[in-house]
Amino acid sequence: MTAALLDVERLSMRFGGVTAIDDLSFAAHACAITAIIGPNGAGKTTVFNCLTGFYRASSGRLTLNRTSERLRLERMPDVRIARAGVVRTFQNIRLFPAMSVLENLIVAQHNELMRASLYTFGGLVGLKSYRSAERRAAEIARHWLERVGLVGRADDPAGSLPYGDQRRLEIARAMCARPILLCLDEPVAGLNPRDSAELARLLREICDRERVGILLIEHDMRVVMDISDHVVVLDYGRKIAEGAPDAVRNDPAVIKAYLGEVDDAEKA
């Protein structure tokens, strides 16, 4: 068994008197899709925010195991975590709407391009190595546009794309940022069943081909069951179940959390 890419140990997050996450531990592996599910308000997005540095966790350890080093994410700011290879998307689409589709993907490769342009100075004087770096970046962008089927709209403003295309563009952009761990917050929210299935296939393909780990928050159970290797279930900030998708689906604690007690349902 491969070592875990991400180790979450006893993560807790408290806001004033409210405990949003309570002593959560789980592991996510590279080349695997780990889904975090649970009823609304269970704390799933809060977990993401702690992982990616948007919140500072109240306690716990978050370890990212890269090939060369182990990083403790709970102390790192969001920008550095992203640079370390943990790239996330958001519940609400956060593209750069006035910029073209292609530009969105080029911006995602900002850090290498900055280095290649010698922090802009080389770029200003037209350094050749920068120009080839930019061409490479465009090729990578083209590759991802082809994977998500948006090559034809490369020069259109990202804000003019229909909803489903915007969701796919988000994934493409995240991949251009060279992640080793992709954190997707409800990637198929608002998509019709066909688009959801397509996106799910894309995610599975990314996991297998690009060998990135994927951490997924989702409500769409079909997607979760289809593509996840491992599922973690949260309710009121606590882990109530964990395991393979089928095991979790039949777990009585999970059923109770989503549907309530069988008795209650009958009484109502």
Partner: protein, 428 residues
């Protein structure tokens, strides 16, 4: 996301009522301040009446509203729609426009109608164009609403003035220094505002602008206080001064070229100088938009949180924007100082900052040509009403409001992508 409101033509009865209401409001507005006015003279405070003006105003509003009733429609258009076909066909023309503009600008002093006044006004327009292009980096590209840009303009002007007057340095030596000082100030003032957004950022930067002005007025030993600094030397043409009678052993400009001395030579020289400076600013901006930092600025404007999630540091991006924008403001300030020969804190008020922001926003955020257009409009409009000098600012304010209501996204808001995919058959 696109919604178009096209109300049916409203019936005359409703329009009449609407116009009547507008007239009543106009009357209420006009009576206390136009109809009556406080006259303060030796006899004490009296009241003068101007009810004829009130009547005219009311009639004007009534008729105007009546006519407008059928015409006005509010279009809400998705700003991100790619240009419709018709507009897209204009694109080759739009690409030609900047070259036409540059050609015109270069030829201007040589045109028959170009007298000293025209060149002077054109020089002023170009100063504002350069300031607009400089602020465009901060407001248009990076989306940071800076209402205190005049501070950097002032730093550039005073740096040049003090260095030139006290250390006898030439304009060309001082220019880069002015830019450095201003740029440094930009970064310095950027630090405290890193976490601020939108309107708050605007007010704080406004505060900075005012603080700089107050310091300039009160730190008399350094800046000369309200009297400012006089005797600022003019720039030379590579060492040749543009005066009628040069000093011993120095060749004047006109002597160098075997011409008769004419006062207009210096005016033209200054004009070409600012033209060059402005074009350099423009070239720099066009270049840097294609570089990672330029794209990072635009991404920051679009969505700061998404930037964080992609590993782009908002702090560094913002500070760079402030610094570079301020630097160009400093260059413009140095030019301003050398053109006037004298500067005082009066030239660096909030109205200047507001004007430059208006130029950027009215031009269409991030649009280079738009800035030129807006600068021309905002500088020339009051010029046309020269006889009514006191109405200048009034017209200016009204123009700002009307223009932004007419075109909220700016006059030329279309944005061209900075990079396109090479065609797959193109050589790499």
């Amino acid at each position: 996301m696109a919604a178009i409101h096209a109300p049916a033509r409203t019936p005359w009865g409703a329009r009449f009522k609407d116009a009547a209401l507008a007239a009543v409001v106009a009357g209420a507005l006009a009576i206390p301040l136009i109809g009556l006015h406080a006259v303060d003279d030796a006899k004490g405070l009296r009241i003068g009446t101007r009810f004829d003006w009130v009547a005219i105003g009311i009639a004007f509003v009534f008729v105007g509203r009546l006519l407008m009733g059928g015409i006005r429609q509010f279009h809400l258009v998705n700003p991100f729609q790619p240009l419709a076909h018709g507009a897209a066909r204009l694109r080759p023309v739009a690409r030609l426009l900047p070259w036409v503009g540059i050609g015109f600008a270069i030829a201007l002093p040589l045109l028959p109608f170009a007298n000293r006044y025209v060149i002077d006004v054109a020089t002023t327009v170009l100063i504002y164009v350069m300031l607009g292009w400089g602020l465009n980096i901060v407001v248009g590209l990076a989306g940071l609403l800076d209402l205190g840009y005049v501070a950097f303009y002032a730093v550039g002007a005073y740096s040049y003035a003090l260095l030139a007057v006290n250390f006898d340095l030439s304009f060309w030596e001082c220019l880069p220094l002015a830019g450095v000082f201003a740029g440094f100030m930009g970064v310095l003032l950027g630090f405290p505002v890193l976490r601020l957004r939108g309107d708050y950022l605007a007010i704080v930067t406004l505060g900075f602008g005012e603080i700089v002005r107050i310091i300039l007025i009160n730190w008399q030993t350094l800046t000369g206080g309200p009297n400012g600094i006089t005797g600022i030397p003019r720039p030379t043409f590579f060492g040749a001064p543009l005066t009628a009678t040069p000093d011993e052993g120095v060749t004047a400009f006109h002597q160098l070229f075997g011409l008769e001395y004419a006062a207009v030579q210096r005016v033209m020289f200054l004009y070409f100088l600012i033209l060059v400076l402005a074009l350099v600013t423009n070239l720099f901006t066009l270049r840097i938009r294609r570089l990672p930092i330029g794209r990072a600025w635009e991404a920051l404007r679009e969505d700061e949180i998404a930037c964080r999630a992609l590993g782009i540091s908002p702090r560094n991006t913002k500070l760079t924007a402030f610094g570079i924008g301020a630097m160009f403001g400093g260059f413009a300030g140095a030019f301003f100082a050398t053109r006037q020969g004298f500067i005082s804190p009066e030239s660096f008020t909030f109205i200047e900052s507001a004007t430059i922001v208006a130029i950027v926003v009215l031009g269409g955020m991030g649009s280079q040509m738009g800035v030129v257009l807006a600068a021309a409009v905002l500088v020339l409009l009051p010029e046309f009403g020269r006889e009514f000098a006191q109405y200048r600012m009034l017209v200016f304010g009204a123009a700002m409001v009307l223009l932004v209501i007419w075109r909220p996204q700016g006059l030329l808001a279309h944005r061209e992508p900075t990079i396109r995919l090479p065609r797959s058959d193109a050589p790499i």
